[in-house]
Symmetry: C2
Subunit: 219 residues, 2 copies
DNA sequence: GTCTATAGTAAGATAGAC
DNA sequence: GTCTATCTTACTATAGAC
């Protein structure tokens, strides 16, 4: 077995087990046992359990974010000397995720999405690092929506990311979750939702979007 | 300090720490330190960490479910010899939660809601136990919606519970979450959403309700 | 790069004195 | 009921042979 095999095998099973059980409950032993590699290989290749999670997320999200930037550059080029339309920019953000994650087991997507919530502050580090480039490039939104203050743009961008993550956390029995949906349809729905969020006037965003079902709980 | 104080103090701080950090990361030691009680008191009063979580959930959800059943009995009595209206029954389910949780710190509600997701199978036991009575009584929905198969009723009921839990998992930076919303407004919104879910024709429930933002992820 | 063996830590649980 | 002290277990991480 080559070193590359070992690395990939660890990543594959770490991803699955993190998603299935959460970061804390998935032990390195269970991961290396499943991957049929030695326990010490994790620290050799990744340094620590936290960095292993980082690598897992990087492998999924990195290519998506690279594609986002590629599409955005292309859209900006085509629109010159104007700015691209809001919807176009949002599509540059959403399309790579919908397309590149379409074939991934939804259970894994849900699980990884949950992990980014689960461990607020610790995951925040991974999160910020992974999205640093994308967030910076998509500041073009500030020029497309000049009526929104920078903090407002920032909040809405985070809201958009959050809505995507949020929507991964499916609830109820598995069979109640209808599965295959046409990717273009999904993209259109998501786009409509997110665009509405960006078009909304500043301030006073109480009863909109995902807030439509107000916070409620545990019962 | 009386025994009752000890019990309540443990429950208070366990609830907070479970909500803030999740079940696994909140250690019994951190809980007993915060509550200023002895470590062994947890096992004395609750038996185990898992049972402590059960008691925390019971304390919040138990009274709500009791009130749900009380309201449903009352509605059924008033409607005799007819069946109560669908909306009335759903309101019997939703109102106690909205009213009785209105004053609870949203952070705690979110945290507890997340825990019920977080640890799928383990939490499922608590979940089923806590909702057993309520689920049984609300089978009256099957008679009110005779066009829906029993499994369909069951799925939609779970979907309703899930939607409530789901909506607790707020995302994005804390300041982006607008807070105080009029309870009656929240109830009305939630009711509209849930009623729409129940009124929908059988099968083919793909692009409705919370599914409106399709499953998507990690990016 | 891979392995064995183990150090070091933190956790849940409990026995037994008071 | 409460406390101290301890048992047992599981984990991450690493040192060092190969």
């Amino acid at each position: 077995m080559t070193a590359r095999d070992t690395r990939e095998r660890i990543l594959d099973h770490a991803e699955r087990l993190f998603a299935e059980q959460g970061f804390d409950r998935a032990s390195l032993r269970s991961i290396t046992d499943a991957a049929e590699v030695n326990l010490a290989a994790v620290n050799y290749h990744f340094g620590s359990k936290a960095d292993l999670l980082g690598a897992v997320l990087e492998r999924r999200i990195g290519p998506i974010n690279a594609e986002r930037i590629r599409l955005l550059d292309q859209a900006a080029e085509e629109a010159k000397p104007e700015l691209p339309r809001l919807r176009t920019v949002l599509e540059c953000f959403l399309r790579p995720a919908v397309e590149m994650l379409g074939d991934v087991d939804p259970t894994i997507l849900m699980g990884l999405g949950r992990i980014l919530h689960e461990r607020g502050e610790e995951a925040r580090g991974h999160f910020d690092r992974l999205f640093a480039n994308v967030a910076e490039r998509f500041l073009i939104l500030a020029r497309i929506c000049p009526e929104l203050a920078p903090e407002e743009i920032h909040a809405r961008f985070h809201f958009m990311i959050g809505a995507m993550l949020h929507s991964t956390v499916q609830v109820g029995p598995a069979k109640a979750r209808p599965r295959p949906v046409d990717p273009e349809l999904r993209l259109a729905q998501l786009l409509a939702f997110v665009e509405a969020d960006f078009i909304a006037p500043p301030a006073k965003r109480e009863s909109k979007g995902i807030e439509l079902q107000p916070e409620e709980s545990s019962s």
